[in-house]
Symmetry: C2
Subunit: 337 residues, 2 copies
């Protein structure tokens, strides 16, 4: 027997689906988070559609369990993720949720817009993220109006973790083959990659470590170079080459901001690269302030609060600054439980 | 019944195995080319070991047929190819030749050393190639002593066809998303890739052509960007960005030369990029002359003559300048038949 519920009793789910982990918030229409769940990768590009669907269903199930509710109590799910509008193929998540018994509405949102609304309730402003990739958006009247970069490792993501790791690898290669200057990055990269010098004859007249480095990098996927990014921060104290890479990354991120900048507004800042204090962040902030002296930088850890805010908006509830603060506090409390 | 032959009657084969085509020369010990054959890719990395082996056997068979000889007449095969010393796995070619009835010796050589000896008989000098990839070698006493670059598209090949095509794609992406200046490369890249703008909503606030460009490039393999290289030469007459890319490519190739340069010697020049006259080649030659005013540039079309010269050396025949000229002339004559 299906129990009738009044519309205002029905719950909403906001999902922040990333390449590494997925976070779900269970929300009342009044804007309170009553349950939270966390699972693995919810991005179909990195995890595959099957695993991504399972991760999201798992995170939703945890949020329901935390609140002592069933899936029938939800009538709207909003999933914020990268690539949400590019593939056009969204059936994978509708199917996964239907298999779990879900019968309500499903909408997709930009992960960058979720990041933005994690930091502010203002309708106009900017968000930048630099993690494995890097992108900047301009938000106008609550909508994503323009993006700079975010075009992936082969075509951009300038100033991202991939970009930093790639620059570290290039600096090591050019040091070892004589095209570039000596740098502490070389020993750091060789050490981090646990290189075993080649057993085969060095028919190219190359350093054995260089042969091993080249072979190891091409055996992996290019984006795995992002794992070398911490080395650039790590050796920068004593190394001019590493310091130059950090300054350049800050310049490139500021340049991407400049490409979307059209006037005042807060700048929400996310991702592991800009979370690290030092030369990169300082360069970035200095150059952004040259464009926009009154800019407020709002650091955020992830897009969970913003995904919740976007879910509430899809369900018809608009959030002001006070509502945003309350939502953020209730998400923090639900995460701590 | 096996007919006994004197050692001096036995023939030698030199193979220039490339990613696109494979060329075989059938040689007498006196240093004359008596047969020539041409087939598809003989590089196991690009074609797979099975197809690469078939291509080489096919090219050898054609060379034998041209001379009216059987495979039993050959007692030494020398194959020049990229990656010859890096993989250490050479059984694929020994097996393919044995299946065709070959019972003689097999040696591998560097494709870059073959390129060098296509241009000169001198024992000390340099060779540079810029085709899809780019590398420079130093030759000392007839051996490959040092290599700069040649480390592949992800780690280098600076100034190569891949590098030029990648720069064209980056310039188009940055123009379309507002991070970079307007350039004629944008329309040229969009046109060359026959882009169909996305049917899906532009959820990133991006130009439809940019979405289509990004999607198309990531559907292909990165090295396919080398196909865009001709666009940079094509629009350079009217476009400052394209001209800057050509100058930078020339500088990067000269920088790689600088990394192996240790004194006088001829510079053998191969590959489609440096074969094109104009800003890139002029920049390269000007910067090389600043280091080595008396340098002789020796352009070559491929490594066929050098692979033949290396095969003769492996079989015990050393070649002087006169012998080199005779070998080159007989190869040219055999190719024309």
């Amino acid at each position: 027997m299906i129990t009738s519920q009044s519309d205002s009793d029905r719950l909403i789910v906001g999902i922040d689906a990333g390449g590494t982990s997925t976070r779900a918030t269970l929300l009342t229409r009044a804007g309170d988070c009553v349950g939270y769940g966390r699972s693995g990768s919810g991005n179909p590009t990195s995890a595959g559609a099957g695993l991504a669907g399972e991760s999201i269903v798992d995170a939703v199930g945890q949020a329901l369990a935390a609140a002592g509710r069933e899936i029938g109590a939800i009538d709207h799910v909003v999933a914020a993720m990268a690539g949400h509008g590019a593939s056009g193929e969204v059936g994978w998540l509708a199917d996964a949720l239907a298999s779990a018994g879900y019968e309500g509405a499903l909408d997709f949102e930009s992960d960058l817009l979720a990041l933005y609304f994690s930091g502010t309730a203002e309708k106009d402003g900017y968000a930048i993220v630099s993690g494995t990739g890097a992108a900047v958006i301009r938000v106008v009247d609550g909508r994503l109006e323009a993006t700079a970069d975010g075009v992936g490792w082969l075509l951009g993501d300038r100033g991202s973790g991939f970009w930093l790791g790639h620059q570290a690898a290039l600096a090591a290669v050019e040091d070892l083959d004589g095209r570039g200057p000596a740098t502490a990055l070389t020993a750091a990269v060789v050490d981090a990659m646990q290189l075993v010098p080649s057993e085969f004859p060095l028919a190219y007249g190359r350093h054995a470590q260089l042969e091993a480095l080249i072979r190891t990098i091409y055996l992996g996927r290019p984006v795995e170079l992002a794992r070398l990014a911490p080395l650039v921060f790590g050796v920068a104290g004593d190394d001019e080459i590493a310091r130059g890479i950090l300054v350049r990354a800050g310049e490139l991120l500021a340049q991407s901001f400049g490409a979307v900048h059209r006037g005042p507004g807060p700048l929400v800042v996310g991702g592991s690269v800009l979370a690290q204090e030092g030369l990169l962040s300082e360069t970035f902030r200095r150059l952004v302030r040259e464009r926009e002296p009154e800019v407020r930088f709002i650091p955020v850890a992830d897009g969970v609060v913003g995904a919740a805010a976007l879910a509430l908006r899809h369900a018809g509830a608009e959030i002001d600054a006070a509502g945003h603060a309350r939502l953020a506090a209730s998400v923090t409390a639900a995460r701590a439980r």
